[in-house]
Amino acid sequence: MFFEEAVSSGPQFFNLAPWIVFFPVIGLLFNMFFGGRILERSRAGEKIVGGIASLAAGLSFLVSVLLAISLNGHPEGMVVPLADWINIGDLNIRWAFQVDTLSVTMMLVVSGVGTLIHIYAIGYMHEDVRHNGDPSRFRRFFVFMNLFIAAMMILVSGDNYMMLFVGWEGVGLCSYLLIGFWYEKGKDGIGNALAAKKAMVTNRIGDFGFLLAAFTIFWTFGTFEFHTIFEKAPEIAATNPGALLFITICLLIGVTGKSAQLPLYVWLPDAMAGPTPVSALIHAATMVTAGVYLVARSAEIYVLVPTAQFWVTLVGSVTALFAATIAVGQFDIKKVLAYSTISQLGFMVAAVGMGAFVAGMFHLVTHAFFKALLFLSSGSVIQGMERGHHHVEHDPKLKKQLKGHAHDFDPQDMRNMGGLRERMKTTYWVYLIGAIALAGIPPLAGFWSKDEILADASKEFSWAYILLTLAAIFTAFYMTRQILMVFFGKARTLAAEHAEESPLIVTAPLMILAVLSFFGGLINLPFDGFHQFAHWLEHTLGEYAHAGEFILPVALLSTALALISVALGWWLYNARRYEEFWAIPAARRPDDPLRAYIGPIYEALKNKYWVDELYWAVFLNPYIDLSRFLADVIDWRFWHDWFHDKVIMGGYNLLTRLLAIRIDLGGIDAAANGLAVLTQRIADRLRQVQTGYVRNYALSIFVGVVIILGYLLLR
């Protein structure tokens, strides 16, 4: 292509690019066809199945690393074509892998974090499938996980919007399948299935925006390929700015769906119905960041449309604050993290919206580390609680102390925890590291990336800066609250008292992620000479990749606010105080100490501002009413009962009756029968002539002859 003249230095592995997709596909096919048999026959079956899936993801990571090494020598990257896909007239779409610094960053995150989560899942799912009573689903889980890696790789590596869309829909499908993994479980036996459906439907709304954008892109640019579009974009911006505005806003709708931003974020908290590794991989580290990647990928269009940039920033920063406040009022350990994820995605979206693409991608990477870590650790906590609960239930002495409600025990409710610091030491430490990283306290990864976003915002978008800083305050607060409620104080239930630490296969990935969360910031320190990540992305984003600067007041302020917020959290939820609070009899005790101070506001936070209820009232109920009206009145009563039964069937009956009785019986049959009757009557008459007497015949012949002769003679 266009880099033949590039100075050749360092090894080149660009042609391996398709293998980032092939490896997971091979893994999933293998497990699909042989996994079941392996699970049945071998005692180490789960390790083999999980190992193969992890190996597939790991090989994908290896290829990503090789691509990254290649990019070191050839930073301009390469497009690796694989096959033609669609060739219709002007529409030429091919399968081609865009290997550049931006896509390889995503590949490394997806396959790297993905591999760790695969390994973790071997240990996690081993217990999860037994806890949920269907060990045969172990294989299905890993098939879906590999499918997800493959789809996500297609998403990040495509060199055109259509290939990106294939990945976009592929990860959506995997998300749906994995949220509904235990589809027969959940509230009323359909809770998980409903959550999966909600994710699917909400994402469809976003995908609708994406599709509109894609159609407009083809209409405007005549192609889907990134580099052609980006070359033409400035020209189009001059001649047809409306089209670009439409494209960017529609892409934003897609982003709000996939990356769980206002107003389409509602599916993500419900998506926590999936097994915890899924929450970590799909709903925290990778899939939900696809929207951020999309905006960063389309950077060269977005910088041409300031209106769209404004809207992206607005959506991101409002979501960041909105979700961070909700997280304060949650009791489910995973729900807190879910709202935290929405909030952090808001940071990233706001960053790429305001043109700080490096900061956004940087936060994406560090967030993938510490949020995956937090989710995986929460999974470890939940299984520790389940182990404790199991222990209590099978110990006759302890079981007596259990007050009857053994079955509605919720291992995810933080109020049931407490004191886990002693019981689960490794999990506690890694969780703490993740929480500090998320809270944005230096020198952990989260501080550097978040601070870069804040620094960029403080320069041009002061309103976004204020919103994001407020969100950061809440972030530090809810993480303090969570850490204190889960790990500090005394155990508040027997299950927590007997919680057990997870095995090494679960904790090892946690430790690796903890190290990454601790040192992840090193890839892009905001000091001269340390902007490796910015320089790395510069090869793809060009002038739009500006290295973040270190603005001391911003950094100091955000650190100070985070520390204050941690102190506030400590003051409200410290072990002594929370024990006093817990000692109040359950009937008089409010659900949270914070309620005493902000009462009704707390109610709003706890109920997520009633957004779900609002959506029910504004969209879903009218929609259901409309569907019911269409089904009952239009379809059933009008169409089926009236039109179909009365008009068509009745009319047809009438017509058949007319045809049968009047036309067939009355006309055709009557004619045929009448002919028969007539013939019969004539025959009866004629029979009289046939007397059988010879003399009669002779006479008639005689008379006949006389008449004929008479006629012949007399004529």
């Binding site: 007397t691 059988g692 007497y693 010879v694 005689f702």
Partner: protein
């Protein structure tokens, strides 16, 4: 030479007698004889005209008529014998098995 009119008159008289015999008599044998009479009246007319017009055709035709008459008599008498055997009677007014 006897004029042709005499012959035709005689032929007509014989034919009329035969026809009346066929129509009026009940005995099958008599009816048969009357039919023969009618045939022979026709023969007479043929022969008379053949001689009058000096044409051989009429005379030849007479031979055909005689041959057919002979065959008819053979079949007819056989039928009458067969009927007599079953009905012991040859009164044609009592034979109407072919009534329609």
């Amino acid at each position: 030479m006897t004029p042709i009119q005499y012959y035709t008159a005689l032929s007509a008289i014989l034919f009329t007698i035969g026809a009346l015999g066929v129509l009026t008599r009940r005995n099958a044998i008599i009816v048969f004889m009357s039919v023969e009479l009618m045939l022979n009246s026709a023969n007479l007319a043929f022969v008379a005209f053949a001689r009058s017009f000096q044409s051989i055709s009429g005379q030849v035709f007479v031979f055909f008529v005689m041959a057919v008459a002979a065959a008819e008599v053979a079949v007819g008498l056989a039928l009458i014998v067969a009927i007599f055997r079953t009905k012991h009677n040859i009164n044609i007014d009592q034979i109407n098995s072919l009534r329609g």
